[in-house]
Symmetry: C2
Subunit: 544 residues, 2 copies
């Protein structure tokens, strides 16, 4: 009996197979992407989340290659966390390699890791795998999917994609390669499910240029555009519109400036030499001659747009007459912060242009008609929807079934589930333990669910600590010290009442063992607080 190929999407409960995937055959493993997840609203105090790769830790020498599909944070952001452990070579296209290089350098890993720059259309071997990166269109240039010829058959991984016939970089997806894979016979297709709930065909990036054209044509004053720092295609479009309308472009925010420099150096941004000016220079020019690009399209309060909305930027302020374009999709969970920013910017007299009103943004992911085309182009035997939450994968799976792929040949699974493939079988195997690894300040992985639950409770009702001195006789000595935050401000009456309660309690129970007494004390305090506020803060008693 020949060995099975194992495909394992890694990560927590969020998007599945998005941030990191392992493909394993006997003693060889290749990894696709190593990105970060953004915390949800109730993951309090968490900076970001990295995929749980504990599964790999006792197999590190089996890892033969780490492949990347494109340069967005959710695909490359955790590269340094992995490459501290894994010494295998990295393979990425030039722009993606540029993003990765910066991260490796910051982590001091750039000397240890071999970073191979590949091109769509290359063919190379890694152990018993043959890897064929092929060009796909998305919202960043230089995206690839991968054809991976394995001992059990050909696997095709779409990467993040949309079938954009007129992408900004003029390089449409490689339909011919997909058709060629199909002729060879594809064992399994892994495909982006992000927009599986969206009918039709995602509009081309070029349609955004038309919207910009209209907004730039109408604008009398300054134009300020917010987008992602890594959204190179959008930056190109803003530069084009700025140039056509005789304006100059100032770029604020370090990450965006760095990315613009790198992408220009690598030839992925085509911007006339004198188009880009310094912000200080822009401030001296007539408003009608100026475009400013900034980060903060998600309403982050510390971003440039966040500071502008709240009037807290010391270099720039929003003036009546400004036109502000939010050219990015609101990431689920950020709706409230974005909507506040929009309200605040209107309040300052700016005209705010955003996705709901004008097409100043289009999705970078395929919609349902494109998904159908991919499946029918590739005609795989087995289908593994990835990149999306369970709801999106489920809808993508149902769509594949409508196209004739048998139900039992489709695997909708969660992260950590091992998919086992042979030339003629797909089996959903066990689920390996694992979940989120939270990054919080300097701590990677030390924060668990318990700490988050504590934070939730603190956020809900605050805390109350009483430090109590007792005499040998078990009676209260002096007055207790109270420390409390995050509850209502208590009056003197409250504290007097509480101290009396504690005194009475100690008269009855003061001689009990300290552990037990501490517990009774905390219950006494909790009850007293609840009866006067209806709230249950975290209560601790220190007995001395």
């Amino acid at each position: 009996m020949s060995a099975k190929l194992r495909i394992i999407p890694l990560g927590g409960l969020g998007e599945i197979g998005k941030n990191m995937t392992a493909i394993e055959y006997e003693d060889e493993i290749i990894i696709i992407d190593v990105g970060i997840m953004f915390p949800e609203n109730d993951m309090l105090g968490i900076d970001y989340i990295i995929p749980d790769f504990e599964y790999l830790l006792d197999k590190l020498d089996k890892v033969k290659a780490v492949l990347f599909t494109h340069g967005h944070e959710d695909h490359v952001g955790a590269v340094s966390h992995l490459m501290k452990h894994v010494k295998a070579p990295i393979y990425a296209t030039p722009l993606t390699a540029g993003f990765i290089q910066v991260k490796l350098q910051r982590a001091g890993l750039h000397k240890d890791i071999r970073l191979n720059v590949i091109q769509a259309g290359d063919v190379f071997d890694v152990g018993s795998f043959t890897i064929e990166p092929f060009h796909m269109a998305h919202s960043i240039p230089d995206c690839v999917g991968f054809g991976i010829t394995t001992p059990v058959g050909l696997i095709v991984h779409s990467g993040d994609y949309k079938f954009d016939h007129t992408p900004i970089d003029g390089w449409p997806p490689d339909f011919a390669k997909l058709a060629e894979f199909s002729q060879r016979g594809v064992l399994c297709l892994m495909a982006d499910s992000t927009n599986a709930e969206r009918d039709g065909w995602t509009p081309t990036e070029v349609s955004v240029s038309a919207a910009f054209e209209e907004v730039f044509g109408d604008a009398k004053g300054r134009i300020i555009v917010a987008s992602f720092a890594s959204h190179i295609s959008r930056i190109q479009q803003v530069a084009n519109a700025t140039y056509r309308h005789g304006r100059k472009l100032a770029i604020t925010g370090r990450s965006m400036r760095d990315n613009v420099k790198m992408a220009t150096d690598l030839g992925y941004l085509d911007v006339p030499n004198d188009l880009i000016i310094e912000l200080e220079q822009a401030k001296k020019m007539p408003p009608s001659k100026v475009t400013i690009m900034a980060t903060g399209s998600q309403g982050e309060p510390t971003s440039v747009m966040g500071r502008l909305a709240y009037g807290r930027d010391h270099r720039l302020s929003v003036e009546p007459g400004d036109t502000i374009i939010l050219s990015a999709h609101t990431i689920p969970g950020n709706e409230e912060t974005v909507t506040r920013i929009i309200n605040r910017l209107f309040q300052r007299g700016a005209l705010v242009i955003y996705e709901a009103m004008t097409h100043v943004h289009v999705s970078g992911h395929a919609s349902r008609e494109e998904m159908k085309l991919l499946i029918n182009l590739v005609r795989p035997k087995f289908f593994l929807p990835v990149h999306g939450e369970l709801r999106h994968l489920t809808q993508h799976g149902r769509l594949a079934e409508e196209l004739g792929i048998p139900h039992q040949n489709i695997a909708v699974v969660e992260n950590g589930t091992i998919i086992e493939l042979t030339a003629d079988s797909l089996e959903v195997g066990q689920r390996i333990p694992g979940g989120y690894i939270y990054v919080d300040g300097d701590s990677v992985g030390d924060i668990g669910r318990k700490v988050l639950r504590d934070r939730e409770r603190l956020a809900e009702s605050g805390y109350f600590v009483a430090s109590i001195s007792m005499g040998k006789n078990g009676k209260l000595q002096g007055k207790p010290d109270y420390v409390t935050r995050g509850i209502v401000n208590f009056e003197a009456d409250f504290y007097n009442g509480l101290t009396e309660n504690i005194e009475t309690m100690l008269d009855r129970h003061g001689q009990k063992p300290k552990d037990h007494l501490k517990q009774i004390m905390e219950e006494t305090i909790s009850r007293f607080i609840y009866s006067s506020t209806g709230k249950r803060p975290m209560v601790s008693a220190i007995l001395q």
Copy 2:
């Protein structure tokens, strides 16, 4: 010079003129609606928010009437909070009065307050105002807007509305009345702006019936429908589909059962006698014969749907083969919890039907084409967009301008802004102080921004309290006691290091005045924690 009419939308920074509005002329005030707001994600621990009516507190005897447009929580939910202070009569249509009556009873206020039941089409006087409620369609029956003839002219308030020609209760909006107002001449129109970013015309409620018909036709097992407890029209539609498909209907959740009973008694729900059965009975029937209605369409973890998704309901569980319909719009800010519920229900093998995939919900608010019709039907001199955030009001104002209302006759203002009207002028006056009143447990209004900021910091990084005994010589006595939650779990090494730090600090500063010493102590502890975790929890020192 004759007096001016003042219109004052009351509330915080959320939706404007949504929850409560005061209309004042000389020594008479009438109030429209007294609803609650739902807290945003960063209003930690807050149950709900009531409008700030401090403006009224020294004018309580001027309030002559409290009018209600309809029975949703964001329009009636804070009635008891106001009616503790205001002894004026309430005016509401029968169903709305039913909702209000329950609230007054719970607050023990029902004997003190006169609740006048009115009908659309009535005309009555309140002091120098003549009030004419007129029928509007929304997602709950018995909605009205108000024509208010004031000494300076006729004000028309739309209430929440959509121009639904085929509402579930068969009672379309009163177009004729609006046209008649127009003939009399309307000084000012106040109109619902909720969907000012949505093009076209909101689909009729009846289109949901068609979607239900399809889903009910396909379902082989149980059908579970989640919606709002107050969504009487939707409950009617579910009952109709249940009846047509030979199923029986069980209703879970106390609030929904209470509402069904009240609406049936008042004749607003038309349900065959034997259609509704008990849940226990439903559980014994074949799945294909059962529909269950539940609350929890917003993914609230303690609601029936929340408990079902997480397998924590002791009476009911989701089984493979169940069809679950989420028939409600996700309120902004709830996207994450709703999406988790959907993922969890798919995980349990149910087929989940939701707004993104099938039209099992339509909005209850007018879209842009309806807004245009309202403005052109009423043809007001002045226009005051209300019911929406500043972004929606701004878009609604721009739309009115496109229809020919002069820019200076449109007032886009925030809550607390006084609008002054005469027969031929509209002025935006001062903004009265005020904002959110947070309700948190038993506390109404005691929680301010400071407590919320503390909770935010606690949620972000937890707290750390050190209780330290010092001798007369200012040296450390014994070992400090530490209490901490919401940070990483510290090892013994950490505590030993911290105690050493405190000892060294006391050797140098132990003789300083206690206040100053406490401050130095807290800084010492903060620095030590930051250097070992990169986090800044709230630190307190108790010196004894």
